[in-house]
């Protein structure tokens, strides 16, 4: 009689216990899971003195031997540390700029002036100094070419990039990230389906 009573109480207890365990475990799983977020890398450039030159025919004029100090701001929201490289490329008004999938391809109407590398922790905004100088300029066939030095390195020629009277040069900055699988840098950062290209450009006139 007592065994029968216990049996009749055990069944609803088990049903209730299993149901509640499933509910509480689901709540625990939800609480412990990382919240969904879209990963991205933000890339910007600024100057302490205010930066012009985001558009062609800008008023930004850089003289020979003038040192220009800019700062890159790179924000890592990729949910893991990133090893980034910024390519500095010089172009003119006829240069095909990079886009969301393809980088510009020196030396096809552009010239790679240098590259800056940095490790950036997740959630961190890294500020990278970028100092550049036009060491000298020279003319060939009515086109002005520049010798540009970046961060105190030896000067690199802008050839094959030249402009008439030194007007409408542009510095193109491409963000590349290190891919541990291939062991090389890839243009942009890994998106949900493919690489997402990130680039900037600043127009200037050389005098």
């Amino acid at each position: 009689m007592e065994a029968q009573a216990t049996q009749s109480r055990l069944t609803p207890f088990l049903v209730l216990f299993i149901s509640l365990t499933a509910i509480f475990s689901s709540v625990t799983f939800y609480a412990m899971s990382s919240k969904p977020s879209q990963s991205f890398i933000g890339f910007g450039i600024y100057s302490q003195n205010g930066l012009q030159g985001y558009l062609p025919n800008s008023n930004l004029t850089v003289s020979v031997r003038q040192t220009v100090n800019w700062t890159f701001a790179v924000t890592n929201r990729m949910n893991m540390a990133e090893f980034v490289m910024i390519h500095t490329i010089i172009g003119n008004s006829s240069t095909t700029p990079p886009n969301a999938t393809t980088p510009s391809t020196p030396p096809n109407a552009t010239a790679l002036l240098g590259a800056t590398e940095q490790f950036i922790n997740d959630g961190e905004t890294s500020r990278i100094n970028f100092t550049w100088t036009i060491e000298s300029s020279y003319q060939i066939a009515q086109l002005t070419y520049l010798n540009v030095s970046i961060d105190g390195q030896s000067a690199v020629s802008s050839a094959p990039v030249g402009t008439t009277s030194g007007r409408n040069f542009r510095l193109i900055f491409e963000l590349w990230t290190f891919d541990p699988v291939s062991g090389s840098f890839q243009y942009g950062y890994p998106g949900q389906t493919s690489q997402v290209g990130v680039w900037l450009q600043v127009w200037f006139n050389a005098s």
Partner: protein, 173 residues
């Protein structure tokens, strides 16, 4: 005899050139480029260790000093690379490459340690959370099924604690 003389001269020149290489082998420069190569590889390895530690659950706050150290190692490696390209200061190449390797190795080790600790902590916390969930479910099930008994028990306790009224004190006086 005349035909042999130029050949022997050539042989002699060859021997002299070889002996110069034997006396001053290009081993030093090759070794330094190897150090530089190792510095580059160690940087990548340390970076991968940091990423692994993150996947294992290490916090950004713990990993931030390691990233700062890795950037210092990168600067040393870049300095070594610059001197190597200039080709005029082999001691500097060696010095900066070794500095970079030292820091990268330390970062790798610390990242692995942080990763292992984070993994153990995560496992412990997860197990504890699920055990707590099951215990709560058990308590809730018992509470629901035994609600009438609990209510009765509480009533009884309330009765026991209640002050006994002996029918009014004014009458007794």
């Amino acid at each position: 005899m005349r035909t042999l003389r130029p050949r022997s001269l050539t042989l002699l020149v060859c021997l002299l050139v070889s002996s110069i290489f034997l006396l001053n082998p290009p081993h030093h420069a090759w070794a330094q480029s190897t150090e530089l190569q190792t510095a580059k590889q160690d940087l990548v390895q340390a970076f991968q260790s940091i990423q692994t530690a993150e996947r294992q659950g290490a916090s950004n706050t713990d990993l931030l000093p390691l990233t700062v150290q890795l950037n210092t190692a990168l600067q040393y490696e870049e300095a070594a690379d610059t001197y190597f390209r200039q080709g005029n200061n082999s001691t500097a190449v060696y010095y900066y490459a070794v500095q970079s390797i030292d820091i990268s190795t330390q970062v790798s080790y610390q990242a692995q340690r942080l990763g292992n600790t984070a993994q153990t902590t995560t496992l412990y916390r997860t197990t504890l959370s699920y055990i707590l969930a099951v215990v709560l479910a058990l308590l809730a099930a018992v509470t629901v099924l035994e609600a009438s008994r609990i209510r009765g028990f509480l009533k009884r306790r309330r009765l026991l604690k209640a002050r006994i009224d002996y029918g009014g004190t004014s009458y007794a006086e």
